[in-house]
Symmetry: C2
Amino acid sequence: MNKQDKILIIGAGLCGSLLALRLAQRGYKIELYESRPDLRKVDISAGRSINLALSDRGLKALRLCGMEKKAKEISIPMYGRFMHDKEGNTFESNYSGREGEYINSISRGDLNAILLDEAEKHENVNIHFNSSCENVDIENTIAHFKDYKSKRKFFVKADVIFGADGAGSALRKSYISERKFLFSYSQNYLNHGYKELEIPADNSGNHQISKSHLHIWPRGDFMLIALPNLDGSFTVTLFLSYNEGEYNFENLTTTEKINEFFEKEFPDALALIPNIKKEFSQNPTGALGTVKCSPWSYLNKTLLIGDAAHAIVPFYGQGMNASFEDVFVFDEILNQELSDWKSVFKAYEKARKKDTDAIADLAIDNFYEMRDHVANPLFKEKRKIEMDLEKTFPNQYFSKYSLVTFNENIVYNEAMKRGRAQDKALLNLIVDDEVHTHLNMTKEELRSILDKVIHETDKILQEDKIAGL
Amino acid sequence: MNKQDKILIIGAGLCGSLLALRLAQRGYKIELYESRPDLRKVDISAGRSINLALSDRGLKALRLCGMEKKAKEISIPMYGRFMHDKEGNTFESNYSGREGEYINSISRGDLNAILLDEAEKHENVNIHFNSSCENVDIENTIAHFKDYKSKRKFFVKADVIFGADGAGSALRKSYISERKFLFSYSQNYLNHGYKELEIPADNSGNHQISKSHLHIWPRGDFMLIALPNLDGSFTVTLFLSYNEGEYNFENLTTTEKINEFFEKEFPDALALIPNIKKEFSQNPTGALGTVKCSPWSYLNKTLLIGDAAHAIVPFYGQGMNASFEDVFVFDEILNQELSDWKSVFKAYEKARKKDTDAIADLAIDNFYEMRDHVANPLFKEKRKIEMDLEKTFPNQYFSKYSLVTFNENIVYNEAMKRGRAQDKALLNLIVDDEVHTHLNMTKEELRSILDKVIHETDKILQEDKIAGL
């Protein structure tokens, strides 16, 4: 915990850059290593998660580091979902009934760039690109690298090593291979992969569909989504099974079949994606995996953070937000002024692990919700009631989505427990005909629904607690 | 699916031996490889899971192979739990209110031996000991071995390879390292380890405590259990945290401290374990891990089965039973006469995976139940009611324990869902003062309780279903 400690951070992606910045602001000496070239000089993002949804938990961490304003300047607000059915009919569904609650579409590369710019302003930060970490000698805190250009191998000795090196973390792999302790670890893949496509801007450089929404084409077993970019384009992502159903990534191998699939399922989107043939064949098909593990740290030597500790599927738009919140929580632990890194690492995992487990599970839930439930009449009635409740009782009702996305002071695990119980209560009240919705609900009617939902939610939480003894 | 196919089974433990026997009975040609020496000639079991609980799912599979009677001959029936508190007070709790429902303590080695004896009677089975599988070339179905004695390496080519090689499966490791497909995989350790001790027979060769029970010394954060052996001894197992609490495996390093711990927590047991000093220091501390993975098979070439596919913690006494049931379910799939091994493997995993996931989760539940809940007054009242219900309505009420242990025709996943809902219903009925128990319940009183439990259970299951949309 000496400010003279040499701190090595592996990975200058979103989490690693923000962590480097924050630790530099606190006065630590940081060596930041990144496997790829400097993304501010080379375009390296094609076909992979070009834009992301930035929301309140991420903003909270950016604010801590003085970066909120700069991030918002390069963001596009999305106020809700914009659903497209097969016939081209559309309907909107807000993310919140409250004013001022929205998520932000932001370019991964642009955000990463402003974080690197800011980190570099600190003379106690050195950034090294093209340095791919191959493994870490965790006992001696030595990281082994390979230079991307010269292929030369080298190593760096540090006092403390942070692995912010993403879902394929080299530090995490070293935890597994070195077998110094019992390491609980899981990698779970969905049977769906994803592929990115593009809706370009129109001739005037404007967005061709509403840029104030996250667009969804839900089709039960698969779906298409689109997020707006600043240049008027949309990044479109197809989520589809590798090998199940009539159409899947394994059998969509010819232009005819790809066209047939899009003509049948997404005709309105197809009309907006001129380069579908090239993009479908050239962009990679990405896997959708969840990684959980524990412990995150080894003694007073190393710590996993961000995706390296908890990679999640993208369906709650919380991957980046969770990683940024990691930095926020880690900073809070540092404020406790514990005596050594080991205590800091343990306190951090104790405070954080249940929450990153929760958002991983919530993200899987939302996969089913987005591709399937959003078009379900029961689900739609529930969302209608929730929007009315949030609008009418902005300080008393928060949907699961709001709890997770807009209530950055409620930890993920609490948001999950309360949100799931509330969803269960409301769905069952609707099915049991205990609550009804119509176009113009009076405040008294809504008050009565709110009371029932709160009562049933508390009952469910209480019964679950008793069942757990 | 040709009877002339060369089938290689890695692992001649309980699952591999039974699988070899069953496939031999069906006329297949089997090469069975085992890393250890022939356990019928060498004693190799010291300090590790000496005895196990055999129950109805295991017996069902043994029956299929004509081995039930022989197994029962070397079993000791255990009718319930026998709890010991710190003051030496005891109370019993039956596993079932029905006649003839009990579990069986059996020696792992003895059972393995009779399975090997039976398998060897088939001329289409060849057993090779001292052959440790190092890895499998899954594309070419070649298993690489090392001879335990000569250290010579050799390989075996087969048409189909079954990995019945336990929690540390070499075949499963090859799935991970060969990266031919997206392999979902998890290994999760409890923070508790285990150590085996022994209560020897008395001078006349008799059991010193009731041999008709599984003994438990529940202490909240840790516990001791004991299962009877045929020779009058008990195998005792201590489950204790590695590094948490006042006493743990990391700090129990001196004879004084070990004695102090047992004197304070288990004085009655300590008096029965004369060699505690030697056993505590010499027997290994085992880890308690759960392994889940998917897919279990690769094309028409390889399949994981038993612990290799799904290692679980021992707290439901279902590890061996689940592995034996694997063989039963696999045999049922073979009865469908599908066209090729790939179809068989896929159908088998589709039929089986949700059930092995369920028993893994149930086993974790039971860890908390055994070390903690069994001594809880609310839990005890629930068990009392359940015993009365099972006794009075033997065809209408089945506790979760009965569903899992004695109802071999109800799959684990159904037993888990129904059992958990039923526990939740009953616990909440007790807390809400909707049901009461007293010494001599009339049939009418019990009937009324039964009706309430069934009603509440169905309601819980229905509400869960709606919440899942």
